[in-house]
């Protein structure tokens, strides 16, 4: 079903960008320029835009089907090793980096080129339309979606003037803002016509919307170039200095230099957490920190989920939290081989946390020590030497550890995960009867390590927070363009764009003074209010004026939907 298009109106009401039917027979003689022009017209046609939009929708889906490197590198690695035949191929085709893949980028870039090619000419036409006069009344009214007619006992010119005044009248609730731009024309032979147009805002909104999308894309891209983002774990009582070395992970756009990091410092003073007593689900996390900007006094601040802290042009987000047991290890010679808090990673709702201690700096030529185990914030004995945590709060903390000795492999040159023990060159301590040794340590306790390796002291249980720091100078632009797009969209979809024409022709004999009125209306898109509006204007035009008697509207439609 195609939309009906009355004759004589090839402007923005129609489809300015629809490629005119190309002439295939002449194609071979087009030449390079001709071909380029032809390709450009295709690209900026609505049909191709439609195709590209659907392609974009389809191309976005694989990113939820396959794991993505940008979100989870480890998952991608697992997938590839689990699927030795398809994995590498999918990888080569970009299925693990969908949103930065060549094909995804090609689709959206083509779409935006098409959009610009489509929107710039429209802008020009629209600007001309805003400055120009409403289009003159078409010769025949019969094929328009809204029509009406009537007659009255006033000369045509006078009736036209009155009608123009009706159309120029403002809104009921905004009487000084005219609804319609109106133009009155003498068509000769005593016939007058009135053209009226409203809703330039609709097209404006549409153009603003599309251009804002371009602005949005550019802002996002600029942000990618100028941003940095890093993660840092900060233990209670300790500080963090905003320099690249203090981050656990750090990633930056090509346009950002780490030397531009503002050297503020941040200290975690206290961390508060609240959990639902029954379901043990988290209810509140608050990090109390002291922020010291360069050359300023320290200030106390808080960071919560949903309430990041702004510091040095970056936003600091609270992304995670946990316990960092403070442990001291004395080696066999009685020397301190390791001391300090070690962050353990929570594994579940009750903060059963897993951690690794690597003790390479033992004195003499003793074996290096690796300690692996769990922290239970509130330990409950559920069987002989079998514990589990029943509460995320540290009411009765217990460390459950196993001990390894040998070579930690730190000097192999392969970077190691600090939360993983490389057991390749290590052996686990066992009893005389061959069962593995497990240490149970409570705060303040010191236990002997097996095999005479030394001792371990559990000094205390400070908390830590995992912070995300992010700097993106394009954020305000992204927001402004997004909101502009939204405003433009709402305007373009809900502001009616209408054209009304009324023609006043002398009726009956030459000087009878009777005038026959015909009217037609056209709207952009789908507009149920068009006919009622035409009826209203027609009724007001035919209404009694000071100059003449009342006249009744007639015609096929005016009776049906007049208010």
């Amino acid at each position: 079903m195609t939309t009906h298009r009355p004759e004589g109106l090839s402007d923005v009401f129609m489809e300015p960008t629809e490629a005119p039917p190309a002439a295939p027979p002449t194609l071979p003689t087009l030449g390079l320029v001709g071909w380029l022009r032809w390709a450009w017209r295709q690209l900026t046609s609505m049909r191709v835009a439609l195709l590209l939009l659907m392609l974009l929708a389809v191309a976005a889906v694989p990113g939820t089907v396959w794991p993505q490197r940008a979100q989870d590198t480890a998952k991608v690695a697992t997938y590839i090793s689990d699927h030795p035949t398809t994995g590498p191929w999918l990888d080569r085709l970009g299925f693990f980096d969908v949103y930065s893949s060549v094909w995804f980028s090609a689709i959206y870039l083509l779409l935006f080129v098409s959009l610009v090619g489509c929107i710039l000419p429209r802008t020009k036409v629209h600007l001309a339309g805003v400055r120009g006069r409403p289009p003159r009344a078409p010769r025949r009214f019969t094929r328009f979606p809204a029509q009406g007619s009537g007659d009255l006992d006033v000369p045509a010119s006078q009736a036209a003037e009155h009608s123009a005044a009706v159309l120029r009248g403002g809104w009921r609730w905004l009487p000084f803002v005219p609804t319609y731009r109106v133009d009155t024309r003498d068509e000769g032979g005593g016939t007058w016509s009135v053209s009226a147009e409203r809703g330039y805002l609709r097209e404006t909104g549409n153009l603003v919307f599309h251009l804002a999308l371009v602005g949005l894309l550019i802002s996002v891209a600029t942000g990618q170039v100028l941003h940095y983002r890093g993660q840092a774990i900060v233990v209670q009582g300790r500080g963090f200095a905003n320099a690249q070395v203090d981050y656990d992970t750090f990633e930056q756009g090509t346009g950002f230099s780490p030397s531009r990091l503002v050297p503020f410092t941040l200290r975690l003073d206290e961390f508060e957490s609240r959990f639902d007593p029954e379901t043990l689900q988290s209810r509140d996390f608050t990090a109390h920190v002291t922020l010291t900007n360069p050359g300023e006094e320290p200030v106390a601040e808080t960071i919560k989920v949903n309430h990041p802290l702004e510091a040095g042009g970056a936003k600091v987000y609270l992304q995670g939290n946990g316990y960092a047991p403070d442990i001291t290890v004395h080696d066999a010679a009685g020397e301190v081989a390791f001391s300090g808090p070690t962050p353990f990673l929570p594994q579940d709702e009750v903060y059963t946390s897993r951690g690794v201690l690597k003790v390479p700096d033992v004195s003499g030529d003793q074996e290096q020590i690796g300690i692996v185990g769990y922290l239970l914030p509130t330990a409950q004995e559920v069987g002989e030497d079998l514990y589990r945590s029943i509460d995320p709060q540290p009411t009765d903390p217990l460390l459950v550890l196993s001990v390894w000795s040998g070579n930690l492999g730190l000097d192999t040159g392969v970077p190691q995960n600090v939360y993983q023990l490389d057991e390749a060159r290590m052996t686990q301590a066992v009893d005389e009867d061959g069962t593995t040794v497990t240490l149970y340590v409570r705060p303040g306790e010191t236990v002997d390590l097996p095999d005479g390796l030394g001792t371990l002291t559990f000094n205390g249980l400070p908390r830590y927070v995992a912070l995300d720091l992010r700097h993106d100078p394009a954020l305000p632009f992204v927001l402004v363009f997004a909101l502009l797009a939204f405003a433009g969209l709402a305007t373009s979809l809900f502001a009616p764009r209408r054209r009304l024409w009324l023609r006043f022709a002398p009726g009956g004999t030459e000087d009878s003074g009777r005038t026959v009125v015909t009217a037609a209306g056209l709207a952009r898109g789908d507009d149920v209010g068009l006919q009622p509006e035409l009826d209203r204007v027609l009724a007001a035009t035919l209404a009694p004026t000071d100059d003449g008697p009342p006249a009744a509207p007639r015609g096929p439609t005016s009776g049906e939907s007049a208010p």
């Binding site: 009906h4 439609l50 929708a57 689900q281 990041p308």
Partner: protein, 350 residues
């Protein structure tokens, strides 16, 4: 009984009321079908004429409504009152749920579903305030009852407070707007289904001469039957006689478009609001999280729908297919992404 239990009871009550409404709408539809079977020939041409009118804005007028016979006034009355009753109960259930949880009740799948059903049925009553379109009633009510029962049995979790990431006024704006948009998309989808059926029937009526009477006196199809032909034949049959009471396909398409346009604007707001919230809660405004991808894909499909409507040869029935795809994405984004895919939107609580 606790406030939370009372809320659940009210939602069950609403599901029951909607079931009765569904039955009443179906009875109405059956009655219309039955009546129109006796009047097929003459109505078929009349309907086609209205649908093909060159003046869409006035294609259906008030007089046509009075002349529409066969509808069951009793059934429509029951449908109307049980729908209202269900709406009131559902609203009370939602409010009590919020009170029981001590927060805005849109934090998990259960709450999302019951509020979404509320919006869809509310839009249905607004759309039908002057004139009952039994088919849309059956479709939306059927989906509403299904969704409510699913919510009560599969998605239900106790009313409770929420984790820190959800403690934000964006829970109201972002999720509230998303639910509203989903509810409106639902009714628009129903209108589009009807539009496609109706347009096939209109075509069949207009193409009637395509079946000629052969020398033997038997009807002979003029051309080989394509799938569209077969479909046309099915909907032009007696079982679809009730389609005569339905507004013309143009009017349905216009109704679907108006609803989709409103929902699309709200969906855009959902997208932007979600990005702003993600910036606060997760430290980035966009990260191609599965839920973000789903929302984006649905948005792009509906944008394509809007473009299709203005493209020659792509309006009408073809545009309706975009609505089907778009709505399928919206539903998948809610169900599959919440229940199957892991992502940051793990708020379903199921």
């Amino acid at each position: 009984m606790t406030t939370g239990d009372l809320s659940t009871l009210l939602v069950w009550g609403a599901a029951t009321a909607f079931t009765i409404a569904l039955i009443a709408f179906s009875a109405d539809l059956a009655r219309i079908a039955e009546r129109s079977q006796r009047r097929v020939p003459e109505l078929a041409t009349a309907g086609a004429g209205a649908g093909r009118s060159a003046r869409p804005a006035t294609a259906v007028s008030g007089s046509e409504e009075q002349s529409a016979p066969g509808r069951s006034v009793r059934a429509e009355g029951i449908a109307r009152s049980t729908t209202m009753l269900g709406l009131v109960m559902l609203f009370a259930g939602i409010v009590l749920r919020g009170i029981a949880a001590g927060r805005w009740p849109t934090a998990n799948m259960y709450e999302f579903t019951i509020v979404g059903v509320f919006v869809a049925v509310l839009v249905l009553t607004v759309v039908q305030r002057r004139r009952i379109i039994a088919f849309v009633g059956v479709l939306v009510m059927g989906m509403a009852v299904l969704a409510l029962v699913l919510a009560l049995n599969a998605f239900f979790i106790q009313a409770d407070q929420v984790q820190p990431a959800l403690q934000s006024y964006w829970l109201i704006i972002h999720v509230g707007v998303a639910i509203t948009a989903t509810g409106i998309f639902t009714v628009a989808f129903a209108a589009s289904v009807l539009q496609v059926l109706k347009s096939y029937r209109e075509e069949a009526a207009a193409d009637a001469p395509a079946v000629t009477v052969g020398a033997t006196g038997q009807p002979v199809p003029a051309a080989a039957a394509t799938r569209a032909d077969r479909f046309r034949r099915v909907v032009s049959g007696r079982r679809f006689g009730w389609l005569e009471q339905v507004p013309g396909s143009r009017e349905l398409e216009a109704m679907s478009f108006r609803l989709n346009a409103i929902a699309f604007v709200l969906w855009t707001l959902t997208l932007i609001g979600g990005a702003i919230w993600a910036e606060h809660a997760w430290g980035r405004y966009w990260g191609w999280d599965p839920k973000e991808v789903g929302t984006f894909v649905a948005w792009v499909v509906y944008a394509a729908y809007l473009h299709a409507r203005t493209t020659r040869g792509w309006s009408g029935r073809r545009a309706a297919y975009f609505v089907f795809v778009g709505y399928a994405v919206v539903l998948a984004n809610f169900t599959v992404v919440n229940l199957v895919v892991t992502g940051k939107h793990s708020y379903s609580g199921v």
